[in-house]
């Protein structure tokens, strides 16, 4: 009897995860190969699809780099410093999670639009287009994924406290060495998780990108936009194939984190 409770709970949790996550995602993979390998290969020979994947990779890559660098900086600022407006900044960091991506896209278009945007007009005058071009997509993707690294690191920074850093300083380490040798190792798992989440989020971004990219096929169409387009045009294998590629990126990333983590845990214990 005593074991009944945990067994039921486990069954419920498993059913929930299977129905909501595992089964639908697996259908994407089986859907891609519904008519064998040939249509999938065809999809990946399509230059428009390749272009979209490349654009997604570029946008996600920039989003990860920018959000990692600034994320660590902002997290350190929020945790290790007190300054006026600190709470406001902390609230601002959460904004991208709370606001619909479409709103984010519109907001960016308003500021950076080449015809009437506050910053867009002067930038257009020096020949730099943001909206309907790659910089706009990078901007929107970065914006959307901005809180993820910060939110992963902040609790870790709070948890480890400042004593180790102060000990390093008193042992002769400058600020940069202290960051590299003490702070960074302390936050590394939070950072890796943040980066993985950021990558997954950036790769999958749809709404904001749709607004700022203009969805110009072959030029500003990202992978998620391509999935929608293929699906609308009844190219189900194509849509599933690209979707499965996107899903794979996330699954692989999470798997790598799991493996790395298991290995270091074994090493340190």
């Amino acid at each position: 009897m005593a074991r009944r409770g945990p067994v039921v709970l486990r069954a419920v949790v498993i059913a929930y995860l299977v129905l909501l996550v595992a089964w639908p995602v697996s259908l994407v993979f089986t859907g891609a190969f519904a008519n064998g390998l040939a249509p999938v290969l065809d999809t990946f020979r399509d230059p428009l699809v390749l272009n979209a994947l490349r654009l997604t990779a570029i946008a996600a890559g920039w989003a990860v780099v920018l959000n990692t660098v600034f994320g660590v900086g902002v997290a350190l600022l929020l945790v290790r410093r007190t300054f006026p407006g600190r709470r406001l900044l902390a609230a601002l960091v959460d904004l991208p999670l709370a606001v619909s991506p479409v709103v984010v896209g519109l907001a960016i278009a308003l500021v950076y639009g080449a015809r009437s945007g506050w910053l867009g007009v002067p930038l257009a005058n020096v020949g730099l287009d943001i909206i309907y071009s790659t910089p706009g997509i990078v901007l929107a993707t970065t914006f959307i994924a901005l809180p993820l690294v910060i939110r992963e690191i902040i609790p870790v920074l709070e948890e480890v406290g400042t004593e180790q850093e102060q000990a390093a300083r008193s042992l002769g380490a400058g600020p940069w060495t202290t960051f590299r040798r003490i702070t960074l190792p302390a936050i590394r798992w939070g950072l890796v998780y943040g980066v993985v989440l950021c990558l997954a989020r950036a790769v999958g971004e749809f709404g904001a990108v749709k607004v700022v990219s203009g969805n110009l096929i072959g030029r500003t169409q990202t992978a998620t936009l391509t999935v929608e387009e293929l699906y609308m045009n009844f190219d189900r294998e194509g849509a599933f194939a690209v979707a499965a590629t996107l899903a794979s990126v996330s699954i692989i990333a999470i798997a790598i984190v799991g493996l790395l983590r298991a290995r270091t845990e074994r090493r340190t214990s």
Partner: protein, 351 residues
């Protein structure tokens, strides 16, 4: 190396943590910063280390102005209460940290780390991770790590505070011996008066951001500057309007000149100690500590009349209620009028 702190003030917002503090620390000495919780001991230590900056005042280390120097340029070793071990490095790497920062040759680093691990009796533990050490071992590792860079000054913030009584005692003796061996100017923070009296050459009593008294353990004990210092260093009671230590009172079975008559209210025996509470009409009961043998010789029981007088050479101070340690261990014995209970609580002020 000598340390001099002149007129240092430090505020946190509207709160004054240090109020115009001046302390001089002799080269090669082992100095204790002693005082109640929240008194500003850690703040002062952190200002010496450069981990905190003073609002005003000057810190000189070895004669050179260090007020604006960042911590890494002060030549100061700092040991934290909770060790601040680097959890991702082995014990040996922890100890080597400061030397690696200084880019010393690998052979030299290895030799020095071995030597230090021997010094702190951790020679077999070099390859372990800090999480695999006990609290006392971690604290010794932290000490070795601080000593590795040959600091001119060693600062320890409640180094043994987080350890149990026995380990604490061991490490305390060991620190004393280590200091006799290494001779580095050492300042440690404690709120345990016994620790300070036992280990230090020099004690600085700090309370509410001010220095109450500075001096050798004997000087502080025999000539406390004020009731606060006296009551912080051990239990006190009142006799004839003066503050005095319970063991500095003689209990006599016969009347003599200048003795105060009283009635034994209760007797409590703890180990070799007999704590006697004597009611003296009007004033709060007087707490007296005798040895068991003294009590036997006296033969007094509850209800008997006895005569109390100060022992020759006893340290006394006029009673000044306002100045007695506000969070000091013995306030109730002095002012509370519950002598017996207060003394029982007072004789081990910090467990």
């Amino acid at each position: 190396m000598s340390i001099e702190i002149r007129d240092v003030t430090k505020t946190f917002g509207s709160f004054t943590a240090l109020d115009d503090v001046s302390v001089a620390i002799r080269p090669g000495s082992l100095t204790a910063l002693l005082g109640p919780s929240g008194g500003g001991k850690s703040t002062l230590l952190r200002i010496i280390a450069g981990l905190e900056t003073a609002d005003s005042g000057v810190v000189t280390i070895d004669g050179a102005d260090a007020t604006r120097l960042p911590p890494q340029k002060r030549g100061v070793g700092f040991v934290f209460q909770h060790y601040a071990a680097f959890p991702h490095m082995s014990v040996a790497r922890n100890v080597a940290f400061g030397l690696e920062i200084r880019k010393r040759p690998r052979e030299e680093v290895r030799a020095r780390v071995d030597e230090l691990l021997r010094l702190v009796h951790l020679e077999q533990f070099g390859d372990r991770m800090p999480s695999q050490l006990s609290g006392g071992q971690r604290q010794r590792m932290a000490l070795a790590r601080a000593l590795a860079v040959e600091p001119s000054v060693l600062l320890l913030d409640e180094p043994f505070g987080a350890l149990d009584a026995k380990v604490r005692k061991e490490l305390r003796d060991w620190l004393r011996r280590l200091h006799d061996e290494v001779h580095v100017t050492t300042v440690f923070v404690t709120h345990d008066q016994e620790e300070a009296l036992e280990v230090a050459d020099e004690i600085v009593v700090i309370s509410q951001g001010r220095v109450e008294q500075t001096g050798s353990p004997d000087a502080l004990y025999d000539r406390p500057a004020n009731p606060f210092v006296m009551s912080f260093l051990g239990p006190v009671t009142q006799l004839g309007g003066r503050l005095v230590r319970p063991h500095d009172i003689e209990v006599l079975g016969i009347e003599v000149r200048d003795a105060v008559a009283g009635v034994v209210a209760d007797i409590q025996r703890v180990g070799n100690e007999a704590r006697v509470r004597v009611g003296v009409g009007g004033a709060p009961p007087v707490a007296v500590v005798l040895t068991r043998a003294e009590l036997r010789a006296l033969g007094a029981r509850v209800g008997d009349t006895v005569w109390l007088r100060l022992a020759a050479g006893a340290a006394t101070l006029p009673v000044d209620d306002a100045a007695v340690a506000p969070s000091g261990p013995t306030l109730p014995a002095v002012a509370g009028g519950e002598g017996g209970r207060a003394l029982a609580g007072a004789s081990s002020p910090r467990g």
